[in-house]
Every structure is written in C-alpha cells, then in structure tokens.
Amino acid sequence: MAEVCLGLMIAGLTAYGLLAGADFGAGFWDLTAGGARRGGRVRGMVKRSMGPVWEANHVWLIFVLVIFWTAFPVAFGSAMSTLYVPLFGAMVGIVLRGAAFALRGQAATMGEARGLGAVFALSSVLTPFFMGAALGGVAAGEVPVGNAQGDPWSSWTSPISLLVGVLAVATGAYLSAVFLAGDSERAGLPDLVAAFRARALGAAVVTGLLAAAGLAVVSSDAPDLFDGLTSGGGLVCVIVSGVAGAATLALLWTGRFFLARFGGALAVAGVTVGWVFAQSPYLLPGELTLDQAAAGDATLTATLVSVALGLVVLLPSLWLLYSLVLRGRLDQAYEPLDQRFRP
C-alpha cells in the first residue's frame, strides 16, 4: 500500500509539475516579454490563458503535501525541517505569484499593472527554482532523518540541486510556451502563435540540454541515482522522456500544438517517474526506505479510500473544467495587457 500512496504522490507531483509548472512558465514569458508596450500582447495572452485554471492547477501541490504528511509523516517532517530555506522561499513565491496575478486584473494604471506584473513574473521564476532545488536535495540524499538535522544551506546548494532548480524553471517555460501557442491558435492570433512557437522550440532545446547536463552531474555526484536512472524502470522512463521530447519538437515544428501538449507532458512525466524508480527502495536516499517511512496500515487504507472517493468526484470535475477551457467556452475576449491604459 505504501507503493500505491507513493504512486499517488508522484502522480500529483507530475500533475503539479505539468499544470502549475506551465503557469509558472507563463510567468517566465511574462517576465521576458519586453517593455510595457512591446510585451503587452504576450502578457495579455498569459493572463487570458492562466485565469480560469491556475487555482485548480495549484491545488495539486496541496494534494501532494497532504498525502506526503499523512502517508510518510517522518519523511515529511525531516525533509521540510531540513530544507526550510528553499521551501520558505517557495512558499513566499507562491503567495506573491498568486496574489499579484489575481490583483493585476484589477490594476487601473500602467504603473500598477507593471508593479504587480513584475512581482508576478519574478516570483514565477523563483518558486519553481526553489522547489526544484529542494527536490534535488532529497534526490541527492542530503536529508537525514530528524528535526532539522541536515545543513540548512548545503542541503540544497549542491550542483544536482541547483541543476534541478534551473531545470524546473526551464521545463515550466517550455510547457507553457507549448500550451500558449495552442491557446493563441484557438484565439486566432497568428503573430502570437509564431511568437510562442519560437519560444517553445527554444525552450525545448534548452530543457533537453539541461536534462542531459543533469545526467552528467548525477553520474559524477550521485552514482547510485545514476545507476537507477540507467537501468530497469528508470532507464525505460528516461528513454520515454527523450523520445517524447524529440517527438514534441517535431510536432511543434509542424505546428500541431494540440498533440504537442501531450508530447511535452509525457516528456516531463518520464523524468519524475524515472526519478522514483532511480531512488527506489528509498524515500530519503540512504536514510529511510519507503516501507520504513510508511504510516500504519489503517492510515494508508483510509487515505486510499478517501483518495478513491475523492477522485470519483474530482476527475469528472477536472474533465469538465479542461474540456470547457480547451473548447474555448470560458475564454474571455483577448486584449493586450496594456490596452486599457492607452490614451
């Protein structure tokens, strides 16, 4: 049962990485869109695409956290207390990102929109970096069991951690460009389709290179993890991820954005699932195996029962939301973000 709970957690984490990751990536494109006038069109598209979905996307994180502390309480307490610096950073980033995005919609002057936009965009880059670095710290075996027993700084500043952090930012940017290209196509805005297509292709190459560099760093710094990634289930996942990534490039090149969404998603999912295979049977590498970390059977059963019941309601609801979104039923009229402030 511990395996099923871990599977749920990883499924949740993957969903969070894909969906919320893309929302963070949208913030990256918002940040790099250029001046108030020039970037207005890109920013308007970012706002329009994220509006209806970002809150639901964000809830995957809550899902992961609660399963984590219910099913693996000791691992949760150890990881959170050791990695408190990056996690505090991520927490602050989440607050700033969400609040600034929600409030920007009410901005009345260009100055306000710019200020809130800058907060939104900057925190969209910092948050996935911190989260990636924290996950990297777990993968690199920097978290000992105990109450804040690991080093508060070196636990998340190893080359692996930093690389995973940057990879998280790049992945989000890549996914988001793919999604935004599709949304722009649906909105009938060819200039934005071209802009996001170019960004998606660029980000795909950068992400692929970072992933390859990541493998190289892992092979020298964490040989056990590297062995896991290059054998058995881990290897399969890495290959799936690589193939899906290449296929997405081809789909983007030929302008098939709807399919590219799923290719991109598969490429990212391959990495998270591969990571789990690579560090099995450990939850905290070198410290705590999955079975040692698991809560009692009564709790695991209750968690699985409630998750099963929850999914019965959740999945149709999610399907409804995304089908409404993808069919454009919730689309608001498109306007560049600087439109309202033009004389």
Binding site: P52, V53, E55, A56, H58, V59, L61, I62, F63, L65, V66, W69, T70, A71, P73, V74, F76, G77, S78, A79, M80, S81, Y84, L87, F88, A90, M91, V92, I94, V95, R97, G98, A99, F101, A102, L103, A107, A108, L116, G146, N147, A148, Q149, P152, A295, G296, A298, T299, A302, T303, S306, V307, G310, L314, S317, L318, L320, L321, R329, L330
Partner: protein, 453 residues
C-alpha cells in the same frame, strides 16, 4: 473513552523526530503561525458564506428576471474570486508551516490527523474548479446550468471547513490513537477525524463565516447608504447581506453556549482561563474586564454566579479552576481572558444590532431609518472580524501549552531550525503588503460603476 490526562502521564511521546531540544524562538514560531492564520481565516469566512450569497442573488435573478440581481451577483462573484485566490495562497502557507514550523508534530501525528487534510484537499480542488467555471462562465454558459455550477462551490465550502475543523477539534480533543512506549500506535484515522469537538466548532465557525462576510459586505453598502446612494442596486446589496448576517447573529449566541459548555466539560482548564478562575468554585462569578494577577482577576466588574450559569446552566454549578493541573500545564490567562471577553461582547452587540433590524422589519416592513443604525452596520464588519480572531485566540491560546491537548507540548512540536525570527519578519512584511494591496484593489473595484462588469 480514554483518560487522556492519565495517558500523558504514563508515556509522553517523544515524537517521530525526537524532541527538538530547547528552541529559543518558540514564541516566534507561534506568532508566525498565528499571523498566517489570522490572515487566512477572514478569507475562509468568505469562502464559506459568499458563494451562497451570490447564488441567492442569482436565484433571485432567475426567478424574477430583474437585471439588478444579476449585476450584483456578477460583481460579488468577482470579489469572491479575488478572495478565493488570496485564500488559496494563504492556505498554502499554512500547509507549508505544518512542516516548516512544526515538523515533529506532523511527523508524530500526521498519520492520525492527515486524513482530514486529504479530504479537505479534494474539497478545495472541486471548489477551485467550479469557482473558475462559475466566475468565468457568466454569459457563456446557459443561466440554469451556470447556477448549478455554483452549487458545488457552496457544498465544498462546507466540507472543506468541516475537514480542517475536524483536525483542529482533534488537537483539542485527541482520539483515534494509543501511545505505547513513547510511540503512537493503533491509529484509527476516522475516529480521529470525527472527534467530539468537530460538531460545535464546525457550526460555530460556519455561522461566524456568515456573520463576518455578511456584515463586511453590508458595511460597504451601509457606507454608500449614509452617503445617500440609495438606488435599487445598493438597496438590494444592503438588504441581502444584512439580512443574512442579522439572522446568523442571534443563532451564534446559542451555538456559542454549546461550545462553552463542551469546553467546560472536556477542557475545564481552558474554561478556567477564560475567566481567570484559579480555584475550583461552586457558584463561580463572571468578571467583566480585569487583569489576572496572583491567582485572581483584579480591577474587573464581577457578576456573582454567572460563570456557573454559563458553564453549567446552574447558578450553583461547580466550575473547575486552573489549579486542578500543575502550573506548567496552565495556559496564559490574560490573553485568553481578554480575547474571550472581546468575542462575547462583540457577539452580543452584533446580536443586538441584528434584533433591531429584524424587529423593524417585522413591525414596520422597512429598513431602520436612524443614521446610527447604519453607522453601527459599518462598524459591525470589522468588529465581527475582531470577534472571529478573538474567538480563535481564545481556543488556540487556551489550548496551550499543548499542541495536542494533554499529549504533546507545543515546545516538543517545534522545528529545531535557526533563524525563525528572520522568517517572521519576512512573513510579516509580506502579509502587511498583501493586506494593503487587497484592500486597495477591493476599494477600487467597489468604486467602479456596476455597468462596467
């Protein structure tokens, strides 16, 4: 029923991670948690009650076809979405703090209380999905279907708070586990979730949600009323929100009585702290105001036997005192006493204001005409908020020094990490700017003409 006091004496659990040792910043950790909570809880009130109010208006629109209801419902749903968005992120802070501030609490008891949060997570999910469909779906989804999409938002507002309050109830009334040799064993998560504190805490908080959100919204329209904006739009906004708040206010007194009697029964030491009662007394007095010094409340106005009446519904009932437990197990009296009184007096005042409104309607079928009534309504929103926070301070500080009542001390639960005060300052600045920004933009929204939606 297990005697938890005895249990704690036999085997105080060291916890899944072991004792953190001395944490000089324990108070900073508690303040951070309290601050995060105080910021989040008003948003929860809006999450609980605002969807129902918006649906009430939309229902009126569907029944009558009068566009004024739709305009108002749309406007309110915009505010609802902003409140929800800010609530999403401030709620996330609370989840993080379970690990960042209280790792030993979560590591030890996560498997006991975690189920509540897992279910809450799903509620929250459904709420996020349907709130988006509802707010972005105006004029894009058929009216009846649109109305139906609002119903899950109302339901998940209830279920979500049910689960979280189940966990808070469990912290005050821990059941569903045994402690053997310093380890938590035989976990029964469903029993833990449906503890004996769930029902009254849920109802008390739920009604508070309507009080706080209702009076705050009514206050906005009462201000407009005083400034002479008395058109249909403002009248509807005022009457709907004020009616709901005024119906909830008297009900809250009855529910509060239920809560107080349960606390008197199950956490007598907490009740003693409400009223600074050092020794067990028969026919105990109730003191208005006062400062607790050397085992008694000084400088207050005492009303004989009233505490016994409140706690036991018997003027000669016996109320247990603080000294039934050792000094180190007693909560700090002054903050608990002060916040308890603030809650009770504001609650009573709101009920009086509500009675005036309801009686005027009953006798004369019109709104009260006195300017002072509307000034009272303007004040009622912030006051209801103060009462809400005071109520939570009462129950949470009254639980101290325990994080899990009579089982684990707050000082055992805290993180061993350094630098909590830096995080505290950071978070305080963050919340202050967030509060200013939200207030500023809601004010801006309220000044836009309604036709702009």
């Amino acid at each position: 029923m297990i005697d938890l006091g005895l249990l704690a004496q036999v085997a105080p659990p060291s916890g899944g991670l072991g004792d953190p040792g001395p944490q000089p910043d324990l108070l900073d950790a508690r303040q951070m948690q309290a601050m995060s909570f105080m910021f989040h809880i008003p948003l929860v009130c809006f999450g609980i009650s605002f969807p129902a109010m918006v649906l009430f208006l939309e229902g009126l629109w569907l029944r009558t076809g009068d566009p004024v209801y739709k305009r108002l419902a749309k406007r309110w749903s915009k505010v609802m979405l902003i409140m929800f968005a800010v609530g999403v992120v401030t709620g996330t802070v609370l989840s993080f703090e379970f690990g960042l501030l209280w790792p030993n609490f979560t590591a030890t008891f996560g498997e006991v209380f975690g189920l509540g949060f897992a279910l809450e997570g799903f509620s929250f999910f459904i709420e996020a999905i349907f709130i988006a469909i509802y707010v972005y779906g105006w004029d894009r989804i058929r009216p009846r279907l649109h109305f139906l999409c609002g119903i899950p938002v109302v339901i998940t507002g209830i279920t979500g708070s049910l689960m979280v309050i189940g966990v808070n109830g469990w912290m005050n009334n821990p059941t569903g586990f045994d402690v053997h040799g310093g380890k938590v064993t035989n976990v029964r998560p469903w029993e833990a979730l449906f503890n004996d504190y769930l029902a009254h805490e849920l109802v008390h908080m739920y009604v508070a949600g309507y009080l706080v959100a209702g009076f705050i919204v009514a206050g906005v329209y009462a201000r407009a009323w005083l400034k002479g904006r008395r058109d249909r739009y403002h009248r509807v906004g005022l009457v709907v929100s004020l009616t709901i708040a005024c119906l909830a206010a008297p009900v809250q007194l009855v529910v509060g009585d239920w809560a107080a009697r349960t606390v008197a029964d199950r956490q007598p030491v907490k009740l003693a702290a409400f009223e600074g009662l050092a020794n067990t007394e028969k026919g105990a007095e109730f003191t208005i105001g006062g400062i607790y010094e050397d085992g008694a409340l000084e400088y207050g106005i005492s009303i004989p036997k009233l505490l016994s009446v409140l706690a036991d519904h018997d003027p000669n009932g016996v109320v247990k005192g603080l000294n039934t437990v050792p000094k180190e197990d007693q909560p700090p009296v002054n903050p608990v006493h002060l916040s308890f009184q603030v809650m009770v007096f504001i609650g009573t005042g709101l009920a009086a204001l509500a009675a005036l409104y309801l009686l005027t309607w009953w006798r004369k079928r019109r709104l009260p005409q006195s300017k002072w009534f509307y000034r009272g309504v303007v004040a009622a929103g912030p006051l209801a908020l103060v009462a809400l926070i005071a109520g939570w301070v009462t129950t949470e500080v009254g639980r101290q020094p325990w994080v899990v009542y009579d089982v684990m001390r707050t000082s055992q639960a805290v993180t061993a990490a350094d630098g909590l005060e830096i995080g505290y300052v950071f978070l305080a600045v963050l919340y202050a700017s967030l509060a200013v920004a939200v207030f500023w933009l809601l004010r801006r929204l309220s000044r836009q003409p309604a036709e702009a939606d």
